[in-house]
Symmetry: C2
Subunit: 247 residues, 2 copies
């Protein structure tokens, strides 16, 4: 039996033109493609003879188990992950499961363009200085810890990138995060919202911490919210965090 392998592939934020050559190649060489339905659709035009296993959100553990099992049968498995698989993606879970069930399994992790990087590019240059990345999802993390991190990041003047700013049935997370950040930062602090970064239907909004309240409803689960530091400014439609160069 040939040795199987799992490639955890970062397919980038949306359209396949943001995929790397290495990611495309690993997909093309795979025998089986496993992923969340939306991500499998995203790369379908690159697939041919592969067995395709698409499942719904929330089935992360099952997908990783299946990837390990298929690789155990000698298959080359492509486990696709949106953005970068190492940032709130599938890398960790796959490595945890592989470590338990198949410690000798060949696993390769192929990085991709992150949602944060794509959103930042669309907004201008908000991440030019130190930043903190925080998921507001309290499904796997106690809200108290999320609050503690928001406090710390706001207090030390980090640019803040919020992933999962809205959960199913939880529309108040972002409002609560905003309140915490406002304790440390001006209402005029620039805030950029990007929905569907890198996708055909990508959309962005330019606002401030003060103005964010009026836009809470446009934020969905696939949005990113970037909050500037004390130096960030809007230059027209460009959100810029200066790094300190004399220009």
């Amino acid at each position: 039996m040939p040795a199987g392998k799992v490639s955890v592939i970062g397919i980038g934020p949306g359209l396949t033109d943001h995929m790397t050559a290495k990611a495309s190649e690993a997909l093309e060489e795979s025998d089986v493609v496993i992923g969340y339905r939306l991500y499998v659709e995203q790369v379908r035009n690159l697939l041919g003879r592969q067995e395709i296993i698409a499942s719904s959100m929330g089935k992360e553990v099952e997908r990783c188990r299946l990837a390990v099992d298929k690789a155990g049968e000698g298959k080359k498995v492509a486990l696709v992950s949106g953005g970068d698989p190492g940032i709130y993606g599938m890398s960790g879970l796959l490595l945890q499961l592989a470590g338990e069930k198949a410690p000798d399994l060949d696993v390769e992790i192929i990085p991709g363009v992150t949602a944060a990087g794509a959103a930042a590019a669309l907004l201008g240059a908000p991440l030019m200085h130190d930043f903190a990345v925080i998921s507001l999802s309290d499904l796997l993390t106690p809200w108290e810890l999320i609050e503690k991190r928001l406090e710390a990041a706001a207090g030390a003047d980090f640019v803040i990138v919020l992933y999962n700013p809205r959960s199913r049935g939880r529309s108040d997370l972002l409002s609560r995060a905003r309140e915490i950040i406002l304790k440390h930062r001006q209402g005029s602090t620039p805030v950029g919202i990007v929905r569907g970064a890198g996708r055909d239907n990508q959309k962005k909004w330019e606002t401030t911490l003060q103005g964010l309240t009026a836009l809470i409803e446009v934020v969905d689960m696939a949005s990113l919210v970037i909050i500037g530091n004390s130096q960030t400014y809007w230059d027209g439609s460009k959100m810029i965090t200066p790094r300190g160069y004399q220009v």
Copy 2:
């Protein structure tokens, strides 16, 4: 005269197989390629008829001015930036200068795979939970602010990614950062060091906060240091930050 344009292109962390299709295409379509010498070399096999302007480190302002000027002459300019141009890269400076000198200039920012993403993929899955990205370079940022951010990130149990862990003539920055983090975190906390992530000569070291002292000398300007949170562990050679799934 045709309208000029500047594409700020993230060429990824090293070998061109980590470049996106969009980045390659923008490079190929350009008239002029401007960049730091090392990055221009990195993509030279993709270039043909383009005018190539490579300069040394520290010439960031000049490169951006030149890009704006060349675009003003109607040229399609590719301003290349390592990793992602929006993360300690060229996007901000270019937008600042364009805003001052050529507010109507067409600027496109093309995101790339970050050094942090490439280093994380090589180490395993250290960035699966909230993380803070901090540059230790005190050339453009007061050391007091860097210390404040290290304190805040360590105290709120962020995974910490250190960029520029060593400056020319400053070998003590990383030791000082380590001392600050050790006030909040165990000596056994996993630490991964990656030098030249994504390059042919990439190299990694697996250690802990305690063990880092013995490895300070392997860290150079092009290295990244990733410090785990309180839940991060080494599973053999894999650095894993669990996200809270029941596996």
